[in-house]
Each structure stands twice: as structure tokens, then as C-alpha cells.
């Protein structure tokens, strides 16, 4: 069986004037793969993640997503993005809409589903994240963990082939983290292609097919969780793991 390449980044750079923040990143994500990006703050993990759905621009290099090089102009980004779900650190639910409306907005506005279909879809997705009883709630009435699970349901309703998670648990109270990771674990098990930026090392160890360590705008080391966590070679990775595990 041949695997499909979902994402392929080649020699990607990003500069702000003289300040180079991404210094030549090559990254490939295969279908059904779960890739976890770790590293210190400011290392460029979130920036690289956001390049995959075009929220960040690149200065040079290729970003090929589902066969389209989105680093070049003339690509219908809206089409590409329909196929990539994104979950943010601060949830970014639409506060002026109910949970149901948050989920049905994109599928109905884009003409992908009728109103009835979208509502059924919303119910199904809320079932996956365990929040069917909150369907008519407004975002302000939800806890952080619930908001993040609704955000995941919202992204899933578009039936994306790839899901991007940008520090999905960093803004949560500790007791909420488990629920969100539980949903992500379930998705990983079902074969969803996922790229995750996180500080949850235990979770990374458990679900990742591949762990990538970022430092100073570059990929310094990558491998299986066992290689990265148990046999790190790069001294910056060793220092990083020591700091994280001691904390």
C-alpha cells in the first residue's frame, strides 16, 4: 500500500528584515501520521505549523499541501484550508454564535452541506468530543476545556484530512487538559493525520509516530518517541528534556 504525502516543506525560510526566524526547514507529513513538534518558546514550531495552512507567509522555499504549493501565489487558499483543520491555543470560538452555529457556519456558508445536514453533522461531532448537551450554549457559558473541545468539533465538521493543533492545552487549567488530550488521542487512534505543537511530553510520547525537536528556527533532531525521549543525541535536546522533565 502506498502512502499519500499530506505536507511537504522544502528549505523554508522566513525573514523579518535582517531577522531570520525560520532558517531552512524540511518537513514531510504522511497520511495517517501523528507528528508532534516540541522545543523551547521562540524556536519556530508554531510559525512552521501555521505555514501549513497559510496563516504565516514564507520568504522562500516550498510548502506543498495535498499537492498544491501554497508558498506560490495563485493558489486557492480557501480550498486548501477546507481540507486542513486548525485548533488554536485560545480556542477562538465565535462569541456571537451558539455552539451549534460555530460548527455549522463554515459547512453551510461554503455550500458543502444543507442546514439540516450540517446540524446532524454538528451533533455527531459533539458526540465525539462528548458535549452533545452543550449544543445550544453560548461560548461564554463554557469552561476552557469545553471551549477547546467545541473548537475541535468545529474543525472536524469540515471533514479535514489533516488537523493542526497549536498548543491546544496551554491555556487550560490542569484539570481540563485531560479531556482535550482524550479527544485528540481518540482522533489519533482513528487514523487522523495530525501535526501537534505541545508541551505535554507524556502525551507526545504516547501518541506520536514521530517527534520533531525545534531550536532556533530549525529542526535540530527528529525520530520516534523512543529515539527522542530515551536516546537524545543533540545536546540542546538533552538540555531541553532535562529542564522539562525536572519542572
Amino acid at each position: 500500500m502506498t502512502t499519500t504525502t499530506r505536507v511537504q516543506m522544502k528549505d523554508v525560510h522566513k525573514r523579518y528584515g535582517d531577522n531570520e526566524v525560520i532558517k531552512g526547514v524540511d518537513l514531510t507529513v504522511q497520511d495517517n501520521e501523528v507528528v508532534v513538534m516540541i522545543g523551547p518558546s521562540g524556536a519556530g514550531k508554531s510559525t512552521v505549523l501555521r505555514m501549513i495552512n497559510g496563516l504565516e507567509t514564507t520568504t522562500s522555499g516550498d510548502v506543498v499541501v495535498d499537492g498544491e504549493n501554497i508558498a506560490q501565489s495563485g493558489v486557492d487558499m480557501n480550498k486548501v484550508r477546507q481540507n486542513i483543520g486548525m485548533v488554536f491555543q485560545h480556542f477562538n470560538l465565535f462569541p456571537n454564535m451558539s455552539v451549534l452555529q460555530n460548527i455549522t457556519l463554515a459547512p453551510t456558508e461554503l455550500g458543502l452541506m444543507s442546514k439540516e445536514q450540517a446540524e446532524k453533522e454538528a451533533r455527531d461531532m459533539l458526540e465525539i468530543v462528548g458535549l452533545t448537551d452543550k449544543i445550544d450554549a453560548m461560548p461564554a457559558q463554557l469552561s476552557g476545556g469545553q471551549k477547546q473541545r467545541v473548537a475541535i468539533a468545529r474543525a472536524l465538521a469540515m471533514h479535514p484530512d489533516t488537523m493542526l493543533f497549536d498548543e491546544p492545552t496551554s491555556a487550560l487549567d490542569p484539570e481540563m487538559v485531560g479531556d482535550v488530550l482524550g479527544v485528540m488521542r481518540k482522533l489519533a487512534k482513528e487514523g487522523m493525520t495530525m501535526v501537534i505543537v505541545t508541551h505535554e511530553m507524556g502525551f507526545a510520547k504516547e501518541v506520536a509516530d514521530r517527534v520533531i525537536f525545534f531550536g532556533d528556527g530549525q529542526i535540530l533532531e527528529q525520530g520516534t518517541p523512543d529515539q527522542i525521549f530515551n536516546h537524545p543525541t543533540h545536546d540542546r535536546l538533552q538540555t531541553f528534556l532535562k529542564q522539562v522533565l525536572e519542572a
Binding site: N53, N92, L93, F94, L105, A106
Partner: protein
Amino acid sequence: MWLLATLVAFVVAWWVPQQEQSVHAAEQTYTFGTDTTFSPFAFTNKQNQSVGIDIDLLNAIAKREGFKIEWKQLGFDGAVQALQAKQIDAVAAGMSITDERKKTFLFSHPYYKSGTYMAVKDTSIKSLKDLKGKKVAVKTGTTAADYANSMKKKYGFSVVTFDSDDNMYQDVLTGNTVACFEDKPVMQYAIANGVKLKLASDFKEPDAGTYGFAFQKSEGELVKKVNAGLKALKANGQYAKIVAKYVGNGSQKSQAKQTAKQTESDRSFFGLLRANAGTLTSGLGKTLELTVVGIVCATIVGILVGLLGVLPNKFAQGAANTFIYVFRGLPLMVLALFIYTGVPTLIGTKVPAFIAGIITLTLNEGAYTAAFVKGGIKAVDVGQMEAARSLGLTWGKTMKRVVLPQGIRIMIPSFINQFIITLKDTSILSVIGLLELTQTGKIIVARNMEGFKIWTMVALIYVIIITLLTWLSNWVQKKVRA
């Protein structure tokens, strides 16, 4: 650009019918600008009609010579500027014939010999000699002001300039200045209306200046008709009758008697209110008309420019920022005068005062609106835009469904504020002669000199309207929030 085009289309739609009206009239109609505050030459009487020596003379001449006059109550400065800008054909507003003005305008034969006179509160000041080291008041642009300025060095006094007679008299009454200079009939009119000033007892009248009607250089034919008519009126005694109607035989006592016929007899607050209710109501009507049309246009333009300012495009943002910078930076009055009297000179066609007023409000209030619309949109968390775009929604759909609904909530208080400011700002449009509430107030005060009572009425009307507008806004705000 299409924004500007819409504006122009709107303007043209308004003013083409008006143009046609004046062009295709059966009898030749000329537009005359006049003052509203220069009693007894050009002012409005208690029935709110343009009256005065100038008006009556010209109406009689027009009847004789077979043409029609459309009167525009623009105020003296406004009328002169409108004539320069070719917005009107002529000015009849007690204008002195000077060499300077002859360079720009054609003048009729003189129709009145005016004499500058000095009025005082303290009768110990009798002549120019008593003014040493003191301050005197004049009204801008008058022969009397030129006279005072020519004498100040010789007699050692200084000159303070006001833009209306009313303010000039008031300054002498409060004692800031000790005397004022103005044409004698004008001053007698004021005194007859209860202004507590007296003509200086030993003042020697300087060589009298003359008043003439001023015309555009191209109106030679009209000037000939007016001159012929004036001659005929003088010959048949009608001229003398008209002058006597306003100034009697020229003495203070006689003029006072004539003045009483033109102005209100009951000078109590409610008496004045009753007498001027119609005039004030029509002024208020114009103010509301300007406010409503102004708010609608400014809001539409403001929202469009504000949206332009958040488009992900450098040129669009630049255009929006320039619009905001220019029209927020210009004082409303400068903008109004520029559009009403500046632009017509440039494009060679008239801009009606109401249209000029609306364009002024649209640009100025629109710029403020655009600034807070842009700010309101930018105040919405950038994560909202990112989340919606990540779902594959276009920029436009994201704006419409996600960002704007949130931004509008942020903007509502600013909108209400801007509506109230727009209402107040319409008062500034009185400079281009629009007969809105403030201009109405000026006109009434110029007739009866009852500044305190009339301005109290005008202020109260504004307060009441603004209170109603605030209530309405709060009600709407509650509906939107619900």
C-alpha cells in the same frame, strides 16, 4: 474611486432638477444674494421675509424691467464669496462701492449714500479725540471698519473686529470697547430696537460712501436694466417712499417709529417665542433634514472607507488612511466654504448650499466614522479572523459573519456619539447661508437685538433634540444588544 463616483452621482441627482428650474423659467430669473442681518438694508422681518431698502428697491426695479429675482439669504460674507464663485448673479446687501471691489464685480449706480457714525455707551465720549488709548469695535468688511482703521493712528485708539453687528454692540455694552463704528441707519435701527447705545454727540461724519448692487462681470445687460429701473424709481418718487418706509426722515426718532413696524412688539421671552415659532420651526426642520441626510450619507461613506482601511491590501489601506487624515484634519467650516465657494470656481458650475452642506458633513463626519469603524474592526481579536479563515471561509464572508457582528457592538457607542456631533455640527453650516436653526437665530437677533432670549431658545431646542436623539439611540442599542 467608485466611492467618489457614487457621491458625485448622488450630488448630480439632487441638483440637476434645480438647475433646470432656473434655466427654463419663462421670465429671465436672476439669483441675488443678500444679507440677513444688515437692517435696515437687508434683513428678515417678523414674517420671516427678506425685506429692507435693498430688497424693496430691487423688487420694484425687477417688476418694472420685467425680470424675476430669486433671493438667497447668504449673509454678507457668504454672498460676496458666492458671487465670486459665480454661484449667484448679483449681491444686494448694502455693499459699499470701492475701487478694490470694482476690479472683481460690476456695480450699479449708487442707490444710497451712507454715512459712517460712531455710537457709545458712555456719553462723555463725544468724538474721536476722546478715544485716545481706548479700544473700539467694528464689524468686519464694512466701510466703517475701514474708516476706524484709517483714523486709529491719528487718534491713538485700537480696533477690535467682530463678524456681526450684534456682537459688536454687545462688546461696547459690556465695556470691553468704548465705541463702535457702523453706517448710521444701521446703528439707528439697532438703537431703535433697544440697544442701549447713543450716537456720539460731537462726531463729524466723514465723506459719505455709496452703496451699490454688485454683479458678475458678465452681467452687463442686467446692470443696464437695474440702472434704468433705479433712475425711474427716483424720478417717480417710489425710491423716496421705500427709503422712508425704513428710516423715516433719517433722524433717530423717525427711524425708531418705522422700525417698530418691522419687529416684534411683545419682547417677553414667551412673546418672542410665539412671534418666532414659525421661523424657528423652519430652521429646526432644515437642521433635522441636514442631520438625517448627513448621518445617513456619512455612515454609509464611513463604513465603506472603514472597511477599505482593513482590506488586506496596501493601496486600499493607504486610500482609507488618506481620506481619514485629510477630512478629519480639516475644520468643518473650512471644508464647507471650500466646497461651497472654492470648488465651483474650479469646476465652473454651481453647488447648491444644501448639497454643499451634505457633502461637507459626509466627508467630515464620514472620516470620523471611518476611523472608529476601522478601529472597531481592528479591536476584534485577530484569532477570530484566523479561526474563520482556517475553516476555509473567504475574507469577505469572515468579515460579514464573524468580525463585523462583533465589531459593530464595539462601535455602537461611537455611532451614537457621532450622530449627536453631526447634529451639532450642522450649526457650522450657517456660514454658507443655510437657513438652519443657528442661522435662523442669527437672523432673528439681527432684527430684534434680543440676543439673550433668542439664543436661549435656540440652545433649548438643541438640547431637547439631542436628548430625544440620545433616548432613541439608547433604545436602539438595547435592541441590538438583546
